[in-house]
Symmetry: C2
Amino acid sequence: MKAIDILNSHSLKRTSCREGIIDVIMITNQALSENEIRERLSGNYDRTTFYRSFKTLEEHDIIHKIVIDNQIVKYALDTSIMHKNGHAHFFCNECHMVQCLESVTLQNVELPEGYTEEETEIIIKGTCAACKK
Amino acid sequence: MKAIDILNSHSLKRTSCREGIIDVIMITNQALSENEIRERLSGNYDRTTFYRSFKTLEEHDIIHKIVIDNQIVKYALDTSIMHKNGHAHFFCNECHMVQCLESVTLQNVELPEGYTEEETEIIIKGTCAACKK
DNA sequence: ATTACATTTGCATCGTTGTTGCATTTAAAA
DNA sequence: TTTTAAATGCAACAACGATGCAAATGTAAT
């Protein structure tokens, strides 16, 4: 599936910024920050445009945002699997790489009386294979 | 255990700001944001002082920071139980209340080959008992 | 109680990020 | 091609994290 098709299927205008963002994330196969995406893009876009593009893509469930420690913000593509139920994210403490983990889910959620769960975020921090060696 | 004792046992100077922060969190028995703590404190402190006090208390494992959605930052007291292994946090989508959950832990962590886990953060969003009814 | 010293505080200031308003430009439909 | 709604770039602002520095404060020694 191409970036153009994704935009079309959501009735979004095909702008070079949106198309580029989707392409870059798709190729890299990792969650990327605003700056990491900017570096990989040919065009030069205003910060506001980036911000609004991310927001639009997020609202249409094309990408989702991952926040680590209140400072590092990355974006990853949504997949049908990931969209169904929440999935975990892995953060490498060494290279700051962020990856979606589909297999990890939460078991035995025992909430206090009267509490209801709606959504769960799991972030696993550690060392990735490349940094381990 | 009093706030003064906690500070003493960590060889930290007993300043009214630090003492107040610990007291307020202790009494409320909930995670509180900077502003929520400021409202409950008698003295008037500079933003920088707050910031540095939180940092100091966090570095000495007296409190820990909880971040929701990159925007809401709250602080909770460390306890011996919570300090041992990571614990989950509950966030009420209605009243924005944050609470530590000691019972919820992660099972079946299946990381990709070569990946190592060091720390895990779990945030459960939903509705608390008070907002449910 | 007084003194001395290291720590803490308040203030000014800066960088980053999220956000909005508005005029201009652009994409897509008529 | 023309039209129109949407997207962009720019300016500007608020909030937050962070640092340098002089003044104030806590603590220990005298």
